[in-house]
Symmetry: C2
Subunit: 404 residues, 2 copies
């Protein structure tokens, strides 16, 4: 088969899969009584728990809006209405005022919207912002956009000025560190808040964007031989398990965030680094040569990670790998990157989708057997699968449109 | 082979195994520079992380003292000195004063003893009390015993009067519930603090003991057909995953705590309940008919649990099952309970011990393959394996001494 034919076939498979996944969540996840989305959804679509996880509420709103706004076949009232209902639920229930005059978002709500759990991190707020900004783009609601920007200011304050509002006690042995997730999420938000919004906003967040990039690059360790998930604030390796931890899926996701960033900034050196260090390296370390698929966690010195699930194959690192390799190929046209994309495709599509009831399984054993058979859970919602399929379909469209 | 010969052979195996396990921790876990114990110990005995987990520090002190105090062959200065050094480290570093004039114990310390993490639960304190009380018994240090009792009063206050000192925010959707761990730990502490200490202390904790038993019995649900890990404060089933969760190893541990309690109180009805509901039932639900071994978590309605490790075979539920079945047999002499004991023995001894480097692996896949190969980690220390072997050896000694 020619490369073009292979790309065309792949595009078709991805596009069909995206339709199926969207249908699954439209059909099973909407809480028409209390608003918001159910995300604990069993293999066959049955809701097995009514708790509403704020990360997943925000992500689903974002994803619906993004599909509605940028893909003709999803520009349907049903999708817009679902996104708006999710946004209403979030605005009504996710934010909790704290003693210090700051807004904190809950991590988990009851079906009716009562707070069950709050995390002392920034991530609920990140997905709240993602939802509000994207929703404001399809509704034209300027208040909502403003709200997203205000929450963003608070996030920046927590991350760069004073984290005390997060509620974590300061402990003498708990030395502040630079975890990959924080600059990645902030970079993602910078891209979200500024996309197509004019020079003033771009300017406002420019310094933050390049700060995020610097923070992400600090995770290149061992003379460029490894990406480590946690480093010290001045970019040195941390002691113990925390310091040696590798999360290949996360590094790959950072990889495509960086490639996307360089596509706008035109920084070729950074693009090269993004591809060699954040795409190729995590694949080399993270791919299971025996059974295929990406490990969830690894220890850079080869010790056994302490996370019980370290050797499991999760859906989302594979989603990130697909986007990362295809985007890297699209930017460079290096055939070896396309080959990797097809290899990850092969593993992913032969292991994760559930031909019987639709959507993807999320959690496989090291050997590739389904270990948890639900379609949605506390951390798996309408996000990584559709985002991956959406991104890949668009990149494939571009590649096929410019194939000569 | 006759039943007695089988018991004798089993006793020999268990006793040899206990010697080996004690040797392993004596050899590899002592931090002679900063005090306390390393617990992140790799397959071959190498320390792969220097963090000191307070649960495991307390448990190791308790276990050393218990062996020293009650088994002649472990009544060695080396063991006493190690226990005392662990106790010194705990007293010096584990307790942190809080704003509210209460003592909270850290969850995790640096090698030198600086607090890294605090949990908003009671368990670090529980193992601190366990350590201090048992250590006071071998050293005769009355101050230490008093300290254990004072900490116990605070625990009781947190559990039965006002939990605000634990630092958990009160959230409208977070309805207080009765998790199995809390009454189990308190019952264990009541037994620890009162054992052989005279009527006054027994009296002091009698009401608490029977309160714990009532709380544990509330976990019998579905008309006696299942033990559920979390129930409401008035003993009803909770909604969702939390309410349907089963933890067979935990139920089995509660089982032998209850049998031990009834051995003192002489309550035959309670003993029957303990054996049928907390020993036989969790085995029936929790045993993997296909691959053998006990599942870590199950959902009573057969949904897939959301814990990624639900189907893994962990060492400690098997330790609890061994003690539970042997103790139940010892109390009742019912042959089917002894058969189960031998069945669990067979699985346990053919899967967990590492013939090459000593000690036990802690984490197997559902199929019984070693998934994490370290001997100690953030939750696996010198506790479940030696406690199980110690308990079983003593019960087997009794059985063999009274075999006619």
């Amino acid at each position: 088969m020619s490369a073009v034919m292979k790309l065309e076939e792949c595009r078709k498979q991805i596009s069909t899969e995206l339709d199926n996944v969207v249908d699954f969540w439209l059909k099973y996840s909407h809480d028409t009584e209390y608003g918001g989305f159910f995300t604990c959804i069993g293999r066959d679509g049955k809701v097995y728990d009514e708790l509403k996880y704020v990360w997943l509420q925000g992500r689903q709103v974002w994803m619906y809006c993004r599909l509605y706004r940028t893909m003709d076949r999803f520009h349907k009232p049903e999708i817009l209405e679902a996104a708006k209902a999710g946004g209403t639920f979030l605005r009504k229930f996710a934010r909790m005022s704290t003693s210090s005059d700051q807004w904190k978002c809950a991590f988990c709500l009851t079906r009716e919207g009562k707070a069950v759990k709050v995390q002392r991190t920034i991530f609920s707020e990140c997905f709240y912002i993602l939802a509000m900004d994207e929703l404001s783009r399809v509704t034209g609601d300027k208040d909502m956009q403003l709200e997203a920007e205000q929450m963003m200011q608070q996030l920046i304050h927590w991350v760069r000025v004073d984290p005390s509002g997060l509620g974590r006690p300061q402990l003498p042995g708990d030395i502040p560190s630079n975890g990959m997730a924080v600059p990645m999420m902030l970079l993602c938000l910078v891209q979200q808040l500024t996309e197509g919004r004019g020079e003033e906003l771009v300017q406002k967040y420019r310094e933050l964007g390049s700060w995020c990039v610097k923070q992400i690059l600090q995770h290149i360790q061992r003379d460029g031989a490894a990406i480590l998930e946690n480093v010290s604030l001045d970019g040195a390796e941390l002691p113990g398990c925390q310091g040696r931890l590798q999360n290949p899926g996360h590094a790959l996701e950072a990889g495509w965030f960086l490639i996307q960033y360089t596509a706008e900034s035109g920084d070729e050196e950074l693009q090269k680094t993004a591809i060699s260090k954040f795409v190729e390296l995590p694949y080399q370390h993270g791919w299971d040569k025996e059974h295929g698929g990406l490990f969830y966690f690894l220890d850079v010195d080869g010790h056994c990670p302490t996370q019980l699930e370290w050797s499991m194959k999760l859906w989302w690192p594979h989603c990130e790998a697909l986007v990362a390799f295809l985007m890297a190929y699209s930017e460079t046209k290096k055939p070896e990157l396309l080959e990797r994309f097809f290899q990850v495709c092969e593993y992913t599509f032969s292991h994760f989708p559930d031909a019987e009831s639709g959507e993807w399984f999320g959690y496989l054993t090291q050997e590739g057997k389904v270990a948890l058979d639900f379609k949605g859970g506390p951390f798996k919602g309408f996000f990584h699968v559709p985002r991956c399929l959406y991104m890949c379909e668009r990149i494939l469209d571009d590649l096929l449109a410019n194939k000569d």
